[in-house]
């Protein structure tokens, strides 16, 4: 094993139950510096609970270290190096834009007010208005301006673009990638709008019923999963190669293959699947995260996910 990068988040057997409901069922998690991890799962899967535990907002069982600290006992210390945007509605409605800047500059030792001002200058947000007078998109821009001006090591985003139109969503992730992210920073994001983040993420994690259903890097994702729009005459032979999922769109059959799946063990073929073999069946392309999600989670999860096509 090569020397690994420093873990920003390290969890072992992270568990959390609300009464009889188990929100986190003993998950292990390791996020290294410089990664952008997408935590994808249906509602109630345990994503927010996991993030809340990481942010010191909820008590948990098991081991959890964020930047070497215990988030539950050291929340205020940890927040010098961690930022989070919970969702669009947490900025206090009474605060004025200038007051928000002043306050964060007052309490946060790593906040660069000039940077926040220059980010805000690119928006239409009036400096003297209250948060309650801003549109939902503007509130998110304001929150992002505050957060991006903090020199933090870890940024946690829980449904940051909920309820925003597509323009604001695109701007949000563009700003995040171009103006904020670098190799010393780490981002963890949960969202239902998976198509927005597919090209943003470096790592992908599916979480369901409090357990991790899939954990891979995006390179792995792209080399491992292949989607084929199968030509009608090849459907039978395609099915023989055991796609992990099959769906129909515009009268065509679209199958998802896992190239790691060992056909030899199944006795179906005497070799592993490869791209060339699949391209003989039809058009080969990289699947969307949403499609893989449906394949991995099954149909129930797909319905709950809402955003999945």
């Amino acid at each position: 094993m090569t020397v690994q990068a420093r873990p920003v988040i390290e969890a072992r057997g992270l568990r959390k139950a609300f009464g009889a409901t188990i929100a986190l069922d003993g998950i292990d998690l390791r996020v290294e510096e410089g990664r952008i991890l997408g935590l994808i799962g249906p509602n109630g899967a345990g994503k927010s609970t996991a993030l809340n535990a990481i942010l010191g907002l909820t008590a948990y069982q098991g081991e959890l270290k964020v930047l070497g600290r215990n988030p539950w006992t050291d929340r205020d210390q940890l927040m010098r190096d961690v930022c989070f945007i919970a969702d669009v509605a947490v900025l206090p409605r009474w605060i004025r834009v200038a007051q928000a800047l002043e306050y964060v500059a007052g309490v946060h030792p790593r906040f660069d007010r000039a940077e926040a001002e220059s980010f805000l200058a690119k928006t239409d947000i009036p400096r003297n208005s209250k948060v309650s007078e801003l549109s939902k998109g503007m509130v998110t821009q304001l929150h992002l301006a505050l957060v991006m001006a903090i020199d933090a090591k870890l940024l946690v985003l829980d449904e940051p673009t909920l309820g925003l139109d597509i323009l604001y969503r695109k701007q949000f992730y563009d700003s995040l990638l171009n103006d904020y992210f670098d190799r010393n920073r780490t981002i963890v994001v949960t969202t239902h709008q998976v198509e927005d983040v597919q090209h943003v993420l470096t790592d992908l994690m599916f979480i369901n019923h409090g357990r991790i259903a899939l954990d891979c890097s995006m390179e792995e994702f792209e080399s491992r999963y292949v989607e084929v729009t199968v030509r009608p005459e090849r459907i039978a032979s395609a099915r023989a190669l055991k796609p992990i999922h099959e769906r129909h769109a515009l009268g065509r059959s679209i199958m998802l293959f896992d190239l790691r799946f060992d056909l030899k063990l199944d006795g179906v073929a005497d070799q592993k699947l490869d791209r060339q073999q699949l391209s003989a069946l039809g058009d080969v392309h990289t699947p969307g995260i949403a499609d893989l999600f449906v394949a991995v989670m099954g149909k129930d999860a797909g319905r709950a996910q809402g955003g999945v096509k």
């Binding site: 909820t58 929340r75 919970a86 206090p92 409605r93 009474w94 004025r96 306050y103 964060v104």
Partner: protein
Amino acid sequence: MNSQSDAVPEFPVDAQRIAPAALAATRPMYWSIRRELWENRSIYIAPLVVAGLYLFGFFISLFWVPRSVRGMAGNHSMAPIVVLAMPYSHADMLLTLIAFLVGIFFSLDALHGERRDRSILFWKSLPVSDLTTVLSKASIPLVVLPLFTFAVTVTVQLIMLLLNASVLVVSRASTATQWAPPLFEMELVSLYCMAVLVLWHAPIYCWFLLVSGWARRATLLWAVLPLVAISAVEYIAFRTSYLASLLHARLLGFVSAAFDLKDKSGVPIDPHFIPLAQLAPGRFLSSPSLWLGLVFAALCLAAAVRLRRYQGPV
């Protein structure tokens, strides 16, 4: 003071080195208090509005005062000094009452409002500890409101004095006889009274703060109803009213604890003008009720700090 300020230029480097560190520790506290003032503007608007209205009323009344003072002078039921002090002490009492009400309503909402509007998630995303947050909120009724109210009271009373003097001059009334109360003595007593009230009422504010951090809704009911209910049950079951008298003493007991309301010959003192000699700070500071109350207040604050760690939006 002088020796300190003289010493600073001698060690400018040291002073500069120490200052930012001390500043860094108090900065979150300072900004947390400022943000309370941004959010709850009633903290300063309510006393100011009441002070303005009172001054307006007083100004109108001034045109009657010379006559009434003369009329009262013959009335031996009230000492002339009490008659002179009355409008000034009424201003003080009114502003103190307003500060109490604002403090109560502030405390009831302090740790509830941030959970109700979900902004607790924003506040908790910043490096401000639960201890700092709770202490900054407690400092509003315990420090900020009393000091501000005292400053407003002094200002109001000085303006009253000026108005009074100018009316006397304009009406060419005689200023040879005493026309103003001993205002400086009154301010000292008022300052003492403010400190007494803060210490005596601290458990009330802190209890309300704790309830505001705990109750999911209807904080006023949760803060008051259980006490009323227990008092009622106590009375029905045992025909006693220990809790009720305890609550009554907590609200008003400071008067007998901190002041001698009878002079040496046993004559009752009019509360509108309490001379300095009638203050009883020694008795007040050695009163067990005071210290038990303060211990209760500290326990409430400690519980509120602990509780805030667990609390999220409601």
